[in-house]
Amino acid sequence: MKFNLHNTQRAPGRLATFSELGRHGNTSMETPGCLLYTRCGSAPNLSHDLLSGIEGVPLVTQIPLPTIVESSDVLEAFGQGVAAFSGRPDTVVCTCTQDPGKSTPTGFNDKKSVSVWAAGGRKKLTLEGFLDLQEVLQPDLMEALSDGDTPADSSSKRVKKSVDRTLEFLDGCLDAKQSRQELRDVEVLGVIEGSELLEERLRSARETAKRPVAGYVLDGFHEESMEERTRWSIMKAVLNEIPEDKPRFLPRVGRPDEVLRAVELGVDIFDSTFPYEATERGCALVFSYALASPLPNDAVSRHTPASASSVDDCLGDDGGTVCDFDGQGENGDLNSRTVYEMKLSDQRFVEDFTAVVEGCQCYCCVNHTRAYINHLINAKELLAGVLLMIHNFHHFFQFFQSVRKALRDGTMQRLKAEINKCR
């Protein structure tokens, strides 16, 4: 595995190539980028055929353990790993301990185990059980086992414990790379815990950085877990503590304004639960990420593909939640709509025969109208989730392309301004 930084400045963000991933020597991804969120190795609502029709599908497939843990005996019998089992043998797999697309119940972890919630209920993962599972999954990258159960009101004692246990688990995972033949080539990502206690965060970061990890996962920075004002300052402090030459992962953060902010601080890789969650609430991402020409922003905005619809439609009349941007409030609920999306079940789209995003090249926008998707949602038809997932993935993946371009061209400020138009 290689991680080559193309620019060394910390701000306004890092451009890098992440390559030679695991068994897939000749593959590479450009960062900032995102992982492909899947459940059991399938993108939500999408067959592999439909997925492969989307432009810019991430190279690395994220497989949350709760979605596959119950099939460990099946995978053992299968013997070729979860990528082949899920029908995409050529994908690069990164496992993560919890499902970033679902909220995890709190209060179930103990000294020896971490609980995950599968379809059939709670599953306790000890370090040994976790490693056994990884052996049958055969991922290219694995997030080390971690105890990230530190909700906002956790005591400092609990937070300290979570850091200690997570480090112990990490050591166990790294040892297993030596002792278990099947895990030798699996890259291990160290998980940084510490909730909102700066000193614990720094301790977690420093201790993790001492170990031979392939990259860092900044756990617990998603909006529901932490107060907005401490969040970015802690993230900045943590990023200062870890070496520059390895990728930094930030799970569960996907709102475009937050992605840009994290990229500027030096985060490289995100997941794609944001477009999934938008799909789940019947919404289409409509924020504008396109910088069409070097004209002043306000002159450009009306002509870029997404902006034509985004501003008015984002600020809907359905009482949908408008998330705060700079920490004036807390709207961290996974179910709350952000200003970056359009709620297509809304009455005002019933007779709207235009594309979700005019000019968007995804299958959904090229072939279907807002009125049709409105009908599908109201009729509770499966195709609604299929088409929205196609559009939202496309939109999100294109957004990352645009982030990389802005970093290359030095136009991050303009991209931020474009994104902020949605507010």
Partner: protein, 399 residues
């Protein structure tokens, strides 16, 4: 009952490519306004303007040429006014090939407890607004005109196939009267083909009267209705073959609600051209995959470590990419499982119809039937109705 005087205009043409020299089977090219359809054809049911999570591109890839929409559902949601504004269902759902809509009557009688049938039409309460509504033959034709399908169905008086007594006769005669009202109400006969529906329960005399009366009306096509409701198969096939004997050779025949493979093979031998059924997609929702020998209930434990595809000989995208074990893992948990199995099940139906058509063209349909039944009943324990129905078209399963 007065038969019409004029020849009815039609928006279809039927070219018979081959007829079986033994059975009544035939294969045709059915030219409809949006698509030339190869018959015998199976029409998947896309109730509300969509097919169980499949995109229209996927349906095209599966070689679906003609799909069905339900007037009752579409009339409620999104509603005929919206569909008219959208330019019809084709444009609304972006389906470029052929569509057929039913009359809406069957759903009302079968789904709604409060439906009441009078000479005027079907009176029912909207499940959405609780408002009392009346579906007349004229209204049904009007809604179907807004939907804009290639083939529209007359409103018929549907009685359950197990009903006996004077109600069956009443419904049969009323269906003829309602057909006349549908014909009179139809405004777009050169864009849409109105099909008559033969009723008459399981009574030979009533079916015969109905079929003959409807043939006089010279509609562009004919459906055999009121069957597939759990009646004895012995009656079922007799009603089908009686109808195809009366129906004109040059018009398409559609047997409503038939979709099991064995029934399709038999009905083709009896001379039917078109079929529809929710079965392949409905059963997929419950994790059930179609194979020649029956169904695999993929959520059962026996498939948990079965690393074969659903069918090794199937070249659908699901069989090419996935094992039974993977489908077992995600069935009932991930919505994509329903789509993956639907893709396979529709491919199964499409392939079956393709094989039937080819066998008819090659004039080896009787051998095809025998092979097929041998696969389904390897022990040779054919049900009586199957032997009898096939014997009626000169195919002896025992020879």
């Amino acid at each position: 009952m007065a038969a019409p005087m004029t020849k009815m205009p039609s928006a279809l043409s039927l070219e018979i490519l081959a007829e079986c020299s033994t059975t009544k089977a035939r294969t045709c090219k059915l030219e409809l306004p949006h698509q030339t359809v190869d018959t015998p054809v199976f029409m998947p049911v896309g109730t509300q303007g969509t097919m169980k999570g499949l995109t229209t591109s996927q349906l095209e890839q599966l070689n679906c040429q003609l799909i069905l929409g339900n007037t009752y559902h579409l009339g409620m949601r999104p509603g005929p006014e919206l569909l008219e504004k959208a330019g019809g269902l084709h444009k609304f759902m972006n389906w470029k090939r052929a569509l057929l809509t039913d009359s809406g009557g069957f759903q009302m009688v079968s789904l709604l407890e409060l439906a009441e049938i009078t000479e005027e039409g079907v009176k029912f309460q909207s499940p959405y607004t609780k408002e009392e509504m009346l579906l007349t033959p004229e209204k049904s034709v009007e809604i179907q005109a807004n939907i804009g399908a290639d083939i529209i169905m007359q409103l018929d008086d549907v009685v359950h196939s197990l009903t006996t007594g004077p109600r069956v006769e009443e419904a049969m005669y009323r269906s003829i009267r309602w057909l006349d009202r549908c014909i009179a109400a139809q405004k777009r006969p050169r864009e849409q083909n109105l099909f008559a529906i033969i009723q008459g329960g399981l009574d030979t005399r009533l079916r015969t009267i109905c079929a003959k009366e409807m043939v006089k009306r010279d509609t562009p096509g004919y459906a055999i209705g009121g069957l597939s409701g759990g009646e004895e198969k012995d009656y079922f096939w007799k009603m089908v073959t009686l109808s195809t004997d009366i129906l004109p050779r040059e018009k398409p025949r559609y047997c409503m609600g038939v979709g099991y493979a064995v029934d399709l093979v038999v009905c083709c031998a009896l001379g039917v051209d078109m079929y529809d059924c929710v079965f392949p997609t409905r059963t997929a929702r419950f994790g059930s995959a179609l194979v020649k020998t029956g169904q695999l209930h993929l959520n059962q434990k026996q498939y948990a470590k079965d690393f074969r595809p659903i069918d090794e000989n199937c070249d659908c995208s699901t069989c090419k990419q996935h094992t039974r074990a993977y489908l077992n893992t995600i069935a009932g948990r991930e919505s994509v499982a329903c789509q993956l199995i639907s893709v396979h099940n529709l491919k199964f139906q499409m392939d079956l119809m393709r094989d039937i058509r080819q066998a008819i063209i090659d004039d080896r349909y009787p051998a095809f039937i025998k092979d097929y039944m041998k696969t389904v009943y390897p022990a040779g324990d054919y049900p009586t109705w199957l032997r009898d129905s096939l014997a009626s078209v000169n195919v002896d399963l025992n020879s």
